[in-house]
Every structure is written in C-alpha cells, then in structure tokens.
Point group: C2
Chain length 323, copies 2
Amino acid sequence: MIGEMITKIVEKKNGIGGIQSVAFVACGGSFSTLYPAKYFLDSESKKLRAGHYTANEFVHATPSYIGKNSVVVTISHKGNTPETVEAAKKAQELGAASIALTFEQDSPLSKYGDFVLPYEWGPDADQKNSNVVTVMRIAAEILHQVEGYAHYDEFCQACGKLNAVTGKAKAATAENAKAFARDYKDEKIIYTMGSGTGMSAAYSYAICILMEMQWINSSAIHSGEYFHGPFEITEPDVPFILLKSSGRTRPLDLRALKFLEKYGKKFITLDAQELGLPEIGKNVCEFFDHIFLTVILRQYAEELASIRNHPLSERRYMWKVEY
Amino acid sequence: MIGEMITKIVEKKNGIGGIQSVAFVACGGSFSTLYPAKYFLDSESKKLRAGHYTANEFVHATPSYIGKNSVVVTISHKGNTPETVEAAKKAQELGAASIALTFEQDSPLSKYGDFVLPYEWGPDADQKNSNVVTVMRIAAEILHQVEGYAHYDEFCQACGKLNAVTGKAKAATAENAKAFARDYKDEKIIYTMGSGTGMSAAYSYAICILMEMQWINSSAIHSGEYFHGPFEITEPDVPFILLKSSGRTRPLDLRALKFLEKYGKKFITLDAQELGLPEIGKNVCEFFDHIFLTVILRQYAEELASIRNHPLSERRYMWKVEY
C-alpha cells in the first residue's frame, strides 16, 4: 500500500520536477517518532533534502523550500493536535503532497492529508505497522523510487522481522525493568542518552515518559555531545539511562559508557546490539534502534509508574487546562 | 573576504554540478553556534540542502550526500577538538570544500581546512566577526551567490549594526543579571527555553554555562515542544529562563510565557524584540536572536558564577581527565 501511494506521488511530481524534499512535522512524542525517517534520509539519500520540524515552528516559520516538489509527513495520535493539523493544511496550500498518519482515522488531521494512513499501537501492535516504522517505510519507499536504495530489500525484510526480536528483547529485559523501577523510583532527575536514531528514543523517554507522565525532571543528551558540556554534571548519584546503538554510532555510546563506569555509579544501559536487533539485517538495523529501544523502554515506564503509584495516564495540565 | 572565498568555491564547484549542500559540524558550544546558519538556510534556501551534526556522529555515520558538491563548515575554539578535526579531514577526503573556523589559527583543525577563518571572541569582540555571525555570513553568501537572497543587503547591514544593539541591551540588562544571580544561585535545576535561533542559545546556555561551567542540572526545551510533554513538570518552584524571539516564532515563546505566568512562578525572560534587536533589520533580525541573546546571557552567567564562587573556568573533567 505504501509503495503504491509513493508511486502515485512520484508520478504526479515527475511532471513538475520530481520529489526534491521530504519534511517530517509533528509535536512531542509524535515529533520523536519521525526522527528515524529523517535520520535515514540524511544518511542514505544523495539528493533528497530532508527536514524535521516541531509543528508550530513549521507553521510560523515555514521553510521556503516547502512547495510542489515536497512531501510533508505529519503525525498526530488522536489527529487533533492543532499545530500539526495546521501544518498539514499549510503543506497542502503550498502544493506539497501531504501524508498524514493518525490512530483516529476520522479526525481533523485527516482533512488535510492527500493520503491518510493508520498505524498499529499498543501492546499487541505489530511493530512493522507502528507509527515509527510506517514513516520509515514511507522514507525508504521514496528513496527507492526516486534515486534507488541499495539495501531496500534488506530494509523491507527487516520490518517483517522486527516484531519477533522486540518480543524476545522485552522478555529478556522484564526483570531489569522491575529492578530499574525499584532503584530509580525516588529520583528527582533522570538523564537519558543515545546516538543515531537512539537519540530520539532518549528524547521521547525524557519528555513524554519522565517529564509528562511521571513529572520527573529529565533531559536527553546526545552521546556525542555529552563530552562537550553535559558530562560535568556526572556524579555517582546522578542517574542516567544510556541507550547503546546497534550501528555506526555505537562507538559514541561506548565512550559515554566508559566514562559513566569511571565517574558515575547510578546508570542503566539498554544495548540494542546485545538484545538482538542486528538479527533483522546488519546494514539497516541501526535505523530501527529508536523503535526497538522505545518498545523495550515502555516496560521500564510501566514498572516505574506502577511502583510510584503514578499512572502513565495522569496529567496536571495536558488535555485538562487551556494552553 | 568571505564573499571572495565563497566565489572561489562556487567557481570551482560550478564545473562539477555546483554547490548542492552545506553541512555544519562541531561539538557542544561550537555545535550550537552553527545552528543559526543551518536554520537560516533551511528557512531561506529553495535548493541548498543544509545539515547540522555533532562531529563524532558526522565522522561515524557520515551522511551519504557529503561529497564534491558539498561545503562542510567546522568550528573548534582551540582548533583541537579531536572529533571536529576528524570531521574536517573526512570532509576533505570526500571532496567537499572544507571551511574551518578556529580562534587558534595554528591548530590541528587548520590542517584540514581548504579555508581557515579566524573570529573575534571575548568581551571586546565585534559581534559581526564572532564565530556565530561569521558562519551566518558564510551561509548568506553561499545562498546569495548560488540562488540569490532577497534580503542580502539588509542581512549584511544587520551584521554591522549588531554590535551597537547588543551593547545597549547588555547595559539595559546588567541589573537584571545581578538579580537573576541572587535569585537562582541555590537552584539545583534550571530549564532554558526558546524557539527559532533562540533554541540554540537556550541549548548552549543549558549545556555549556549551567551544566559544564556551573554543574547545575539543565535542559533546553523548544517553546513549541513545551506543550507536548515537558510542561507537565512546571510548578511554582521549577526555574525557567525563557528566551523570546524577535521573529516569526515569537508566538510560540509568548504562548509558553502565558503558561508560565499562570502555572509557574520562578522564571525570567529575555526578550530580543523589546531589547531592540529588530533595529538591525526586520526581515533578518530573527536569525540573530541566538547571538544577541547569547551575548546578553553571558553576563547572567558571569553574575551567577560570581555569587556562587564557582568560576566559569572551573571543571572537574574537561581537559583534566582522559575521556
């Protein structure tokens, strides 16, 4: 279905200069789900310009390259995030192809999608059809059809293998998740760290799980940036969650780990490589670090919420007050 | 000088397909100084692909578009940041034009620059020749020579006017900086927030000033992302520094301010518009939010360091231990 959709867009755009850019636009957790697709195009595409924007900035300061040669991908779980709806509307007005992803098919966002895609979500979701991977498949399909992608087949096969490896990794880390909850339940701040597409897994865990759903102070630090400022706050009692990539940026994470082992004390690591992600395909697995680690981290969130008697659904402001 | 340098690069590249992409690569504080140039090209260029990478990620997972049609701009204050030196080397190996900025002209980084540029730094620096603005001028010059830039003259004039407005704004906020230091000296965490190029001013204040130089926990939050997770940690005793842009993303900052006024209590704002930045040129001032706010924030850092008896030069790890 995604392949046919992209073929339609490519055919339409080819008459007017082809697809030249792809912008990924959303807010918060949905914003983070788009990062792997942006990272993938940055990494693999020779010609396609790729952008990643929080929706309200895209609306107010729309990049001037957005136009008839662009594809704009938006995502909103309930399809009613006002800034994201506005962004999709703007994309259409500027002549871009608008692809909107939402769990609620009949929603305001759907109105402004030339193509409206569903995704699976929740504990029983097939990760191949999750929001993150659906967007990654859109990116891979665009790349493949516009300029070719050497690892296209491996990428497609990896999507199909993902569910099995995440399932195994979840089971393998279930006890670790409980231990994390016990050991970190009273912390006032927890830093997250990662690189490659693991960076956006670290970001969403920081802003959505810890700050939004647990009211715990947090900040996502890029493993490469850690040594250029942030590492000075490292002390034995400062907690970190370090995500280790299965791909090319893994040396960055290992370097951070080495430092934490020497000067920190309170940290856990989740290692996409050791947990089996490379089984899906060694040339493409790093692009799946985000979804793989996010699925595993979800149980670390659930255990934390449970032991703190602070349900993940609890909010003080979101959806409750005017903002 | 910058104009002539870009002309040389453009002439050389025109025989082989022209300049198609510009990547900005560095670490930490230097990484943040590159963001306004990336933001500028994203905002204003119809054709040029622009990327912004922390150096070690660029080295290990080099984007495949980097090649003979690219310009890679690196920056390292002492010219000896190993990852940045490696990035400039990689850029040259791939056939990109390598522009290296450093305060130490005779440094390892200089070896891998086809062009090595100095910049002014410190309390007496003319902001036109600062690291941030030098890189912005490179970006504007590339845009102007490659595809034209409607506000080129206004941009160039703005650079010349910058020093006067930042000087005035520093004087106007000197007392506020002292008050900030008094009121925030005992805080364990201080969040920073901004949008547009103010986002990278917030980032550098968080990671370089607060975390690195004062060992205070921090995180930079995008004003547009605040409402999609982070705002749930807002309470009367949670401190924020909110940077208000002079440009198109200002509504995002004002929305965050409105929320802080209602549910927060401990926050300060620095307003680039009220402090006079638009005097330099209304079509270009927002690109200078970063440098303008960073210069002003420097005295907030100095006052904080002074009252806490914690010099900005003090480190536990940086340049002192192996990492």
